[in-house]
């Protein structure tokens, strides 16, 4: 039984073996709430809830009211999600906590769609002028290339090391534990059992590598001149850096999983609290960096930021037509040569689903999710 006093209740929950899992659910809820509270301030000045508007619209009473409504919905959903997660753990049905987590995601998307619908009557025709700098885009240089090699070097080094200590690995070892720390999933000392995770790590890093390359080479430079153009180039480099940082993170995580077999007490669940705290601190830093830049560098210094296109009455936007955005989240435009375009829901880039190359990338992601299942089946048969 759990005590009724809130402080004692928190202490009692923290002492439970499932406390790290509870924490792993509450921290993303907090992160999502903060990120989406800030979302309206992170977009380009002439994009408001995925709709192209004149920059002055942001300051209007209607726009402020839309933002207020959106933020209220985000926080209500987040509080409900926290309550559901706690209730699920108190009732001893931790899987129900997922309803809270996914409910928050669904609620935030619904709030976004509602805000977008309210903004649509204020949509403005974008500028009929387009501009481009007549200089080749910088390739990135040797520093960028070395940074990109790093995760693969880490994975290669660990693969060689594991091969060298192959016979020190137990023939069967646990790889999954239940909420109370009892092992409930095992792997074997086989190629798939050991290198399966490693291969998934290589696949994830390869995908992120392609995406990072795409950000540097396959994205549109929306503004060609002035501080906006510089901010945009800076934003692209930051996005590249964030992806490479995540690539290092995944390389280290998938690299480390086979080493759990070498633990002196292999049946004992590893202490995941430091890992979880480290992961959330890392993600928090990345999110803070993205919030600092804003979409397309919109939050960076704006000194002399006006483009050469002197057409203040008509917004430049992100040079994608509003009508090609499905629900403000999915861009489908076969006429646009861009494979990657700036997101209108969140920060960063998304795929142009009207391009066949985008579907190839999606097929690659699906393959990445199927590989672990196939590997698990193969490992089970090899036991």
């Amino acid at each position: 039984m759990f005590p009724h006093n809130p402080a004692a209740l928190v202490a009692a929950i923290a002492a439970k073996p499932f406390a790290p899992v509870l924490m792993a659910m509450l921290l993303p809820i907090a992160l999502v709430a903060i990120l989406f509270h800030l979302l309206p301030n992170l977009t380009r000045r002439d994009i408001f809830f995925a709709v192209t508007v004149v920059p002055a619209f942001r300051q209007s009473a209607e726009a402020r009211d839309i933002v207020r409504g959106f933020r209220a919905a985000v926080w209500i959903q987040s509080v409900v999600a926290v309550a559901v997660v706690f209730a699920a753990f108190i009732l001893g049905r931790p899987l129900l906590a997922l309803i809270g987590v996914f409910g928050q995601e669904a609620g935030v998307i619904f709030a976004f769609l509602r805000a977008r619908k309210r903004t649509m009557p204020h949509a403005a025709s974008p500028s009929v002028h387009r501009e481009a700098a007549l200089v080749p885009r910088p390739a990135g240089g040797i520093g960028f290339a070395l940074l990109q090699i790093g995760p693969f070097a880490i994975l290669a080094a660990s693969a060689i090391y594991i091969r060298l200590i192959w016979y020190r690995i137990p023939a069967r070892f646990p790889i999954h534990w239940d909420l109370y720390g009892n092992p409930n999933g095992w792997s074997t000392r086989s190629f798939m059992g050991i290198y399966g995770f490693w291969l998934i790590g290589v696949g994830i890093c390869a995908f992120m590598e392609i995406f990072a390359y795409g950000i540097l080479h396959w994205t549109r430079q929306i503004r060609a001149t002035g501080a906006d153009a510089q901010n945009e180039a800076h934003f692209r480099r930051v996005q590249f850096g964030v992806l490479i940082a995540l690539e290092y993170f995944f390389a280290l995580v998938f690299n480390g999983i086979p080493f759990t077999a070498l633990s002196p007490h292999p049946n004992q669940a590893p202490n995941v609290v430091p890992f979880l705290l480290g992961t959330f601190a890392f993600i928090g830093v990345l999110v803070a960096i993205l919030v600092h830049t804003g979409q397309g560098g919109a939050n960076l210094s704006r000194a002399g930021s006006e483009s050469d296109i002197a057409e203040a009455a008509r917004p430049v936007g992100d040079r994608t037509p509003d009508q090609c955005w499905r629900a403000g989240m999915f861009y489908v435009n076969p006429q646009d040569p861009a494979i990657l375009v700036e997101k209108r829901f969140g920060i960063g880039y998304t795929l142009n689903f009207g391009r066949p190359a985008a579907w190839l990338l999606i097929a690659f992601i699906i393959a990445l999710s199927v590989v672990p299942i196939v590997l698990a089946v193969l490992t089970a048969h090899g036991r």
């Binding site: 501009e131 007549l134 080749p136 040569p337």
Partner: protein
Amino acid sequence: MKKTPIVRLDTSSQAPAYEQIAAEIRALLVAGELLPGAPLPTVRQLALDLNVHHNTVAQAYRILAGEGWLDLRRGRGARVVSRSKPARANPRAGRTFRSQLKRLLAKAVAEGVAPKLIARQLTLHAQYVRTWGLRKGD
């Protein structure tokens, strides 16, 4: 700080996009804002930035290469080359210029542009054109 050469496209214009792009780049080449040896963005990069099909940019580059402004080599991209002034002016080019200018002036007047403004712009451009000649060593 050196000014970045910019190409602009008006999507509401009747002129085809490849002609607009070629005209914009030609103006930069004639004004000396793009000097011999300068590399241009790849066809795909410029098409991406201007949100047009890559054939549109390729066509514009081919026009300029045909006029002797650009060197197009597969795998090396487009590069500005040193172009000497034609030994003899094409007489048809002179006639076309005069008739186009006349039509343009008539349109501007018909749309209410002040003759004073037109005259001032023509004087400014005449001065500007003379500097192009000087740059080319005329």
